[in-house]
Amino acid sequence: MTTHPNRALRAGGILLGIVLLPATLIALLNGDQAPPIDVMHRYAPVSLLHPLGTDPFGRDIMVHVLTGAFNSVTIAVISVCLATIVGTVLGLIAAARPARSIMGLADLGLAFPPVLIAALLVTALGASATGEILAIALFGLPAQIRITRQAARSILIQDYIAASRLAGRGPVYIMRRHVLPNILPLLTVQATSSLALAILSDAGLSYLGLGAPPPRPNLGRALASYQIHIFDHPLLVAIPGLTIMLLVLGFNMLGDGLRDALDAAHEEQTP
């Protein structure tokens, strides 16, 4: 679409790198727990020791937020993987046979936003990372089923599939050998864009206290705990929010860039 199909790709990569590289580094060095509370050093100013200062509990803000980002992205990645795998399998089944029931269940997602699923799960079982992952994955499932089904059908109408059938190949073989490799690029694009949505969902659920519970910090809960300090220390609220935005923007642009690259590859194949 644009003259530089990879510009969005590069920009998305850079945005994600800005957050994810230091976040991973800190998680490797410090683990995924919150930095220690240090009441002697509350609201410490920006310094070499604390590049963004410390929060009302004397925790290093940068470490806290980056660890939170690491945990949030982990939750998002697991949810999207889950939704992609289950959604792809169900989508392929729905493509192979007229499966009203699968598409009907996919429609269920139209009415069940993650916050309602999480509300039910938290009421029933209490807050847990598993429940949050389930809620985000269930919300992402319908789109995944729909897209897989549509893409698989466009492959299934090709002549070589008919040839393969005439050669006596079963549906599982055709799906695995012909359909899946062909729709894999599309699924990658979809998964990347879903990550952006999953990060937003995680932030919202955690903010409401419906996400993964303490002690592991995450971005939504960081925002919730800093919110009351917005008047005196607006940066406390700005930093976790900006981190969420960078991550979402990064995954969105990466997804768009991949989509453009995919379209360009398609156009080259069929002039």
Partner: protein, 334 residues
């Protein structure tokens, strides 16, 4: 897939579908089935808890008497199927049970809370469509120009902002620093329309901005897609000017998928409303749900979730009907 070729002529099926109008009945019936499935899911989540729901609600140090009383109130001594039947029967008759925490009918609680939730969600929807559609049209009409690129950049940015964080930053700017609008709370409609609307302005804007970005982006691609269709060339050959074709021919057609999107985005808007109500301490349904979840007020959670799901489904059916009415081909797109 294994049916003979002649049974599967797409044009013919579509044509017959239009004529018999079967779809007009099929969609609501499917949605009704979905609603039943949804109610089963909700019921299962609330009633198949490991352990005793009454014990969960009352906590560990509950006396046996209060447990028995709550058992009776929740109808726990009945079998699961008859509990489900009781619940659905009551729900259909407008009886949403009794809140355990507040000890008032759930329907009254929800009724009070809807006073801020419903206007908020409507306002947000109007704002997002009212800005997203013109912006997307503007970008598509000036496709490839600096204006288009600039708009798309801003849209991409706003699409990525978490609405509740945007809400906090807007409170900081417009309420705490500039003192233009209240930062939290809701005076109710009894005080007059102006204070209530003022209280809902920031939440609605915060909710609407990311939605408007999504709408604008979708509107742009829908309009560009429509403008590349053959019937646009036909209209030009008929004597339509470039602007005339955009406004009179392309825009109405391009709006149809945008309405579909608005229907799909509805649950997302519901999520946003629940979170934003929490940011602004608005006494809405979202706040009620969160309180109920935290207090394990099972009757409130169960009935409120069911009510929201039902409302979303009904709106979805209405939206589908509207789209189908506008597009006589009956959903042949995508």
């Amino acid at each position: 897939m294994d049916k003979p070729a002649h049974r599967r002529l797409p044009g013919r099926r579509r044509f017959l579908g239009t004529m018999t109008g079967m779809d007009i009945f099929r969609i609501p019936v499917e949605r009704l089935l979905l609603l039943i499935v949804a109610s089963l899911v909700i019921f299962a989540a609330m009633n198949l808890l490991p352990g005793d729901p009454a014990a969960v609600m009352l906590g560990l140090d509950a006396s046996p008497e209060s447990l028995t009383a709550l058992h009776h109130q929740l109808g726990l001594e009945l079998s699961l199927p008859s509990r489900y039947a009781h619940w659905i029967n009551a729900f259909l008759h407008g009886d949403l049970g009794r809140s355990y925490i507040y000890d008032v009918p759930v329907s009254r609680l929800i009724g009070e809370r809807l006073q801020s939730s419903l206007p908020l969600i409507l306002l947000a929807m109007l704002l997002s469509l009212g800005t997203g559609i013109p912006l997307g049209t503007m970008a598509a009409a000036n496709r490839g120009t600096a204006l288009d690129n600039g708009l798309m950049g801003v849209i991409q940015l706003f699409k990525s902002i978490p609405d509740f964080w945007l809400a906090m930053m807007m409170t900081f700017l417009f309420s705490l620093t500039l003192h233009w609008l209240p930062s939290s709370g809701f005076p109710g409609w009894g005080e007059g329309i102006a204070p209530a609307l003022r209280a809902l302005t920031l939440p609605a804007i915060a909710l609407a901005i990311p939605q408007a970005a999504i709408t604008a982006r979708f509107m742009r691609s829908s309009l560009i897609e429509t403008l590349s269709q053959d019937f646009i060339r036909t209209a030009r050959a008929q004597g339509y000017s470039r602007g005339g074709v955009l406004w009179r021919i392309a825009l109405p057609n391009a709006l149809i998928p945008v309405l579909t999107l608005a229907g799909i985005q509805l649950p997302v808007l519901v999520t946003g409303t629940i979170i934003v109500e929490s940011v602004f301490s608005l006494p809405g349904c979202g706040k009620l749900l969160l309180e109920a979840v935290n207090q394990r007020d099972i009757p409130v959670v169960q009935n409120l979730v069911m009510l929201i799901v039902t409302a979303v489904m009904i709106l979805n059916v209405l939206m589908t009907a509207l789209v189908r009415w506008l597009d006589p081909r009956l959903g042949t797109e995508s």
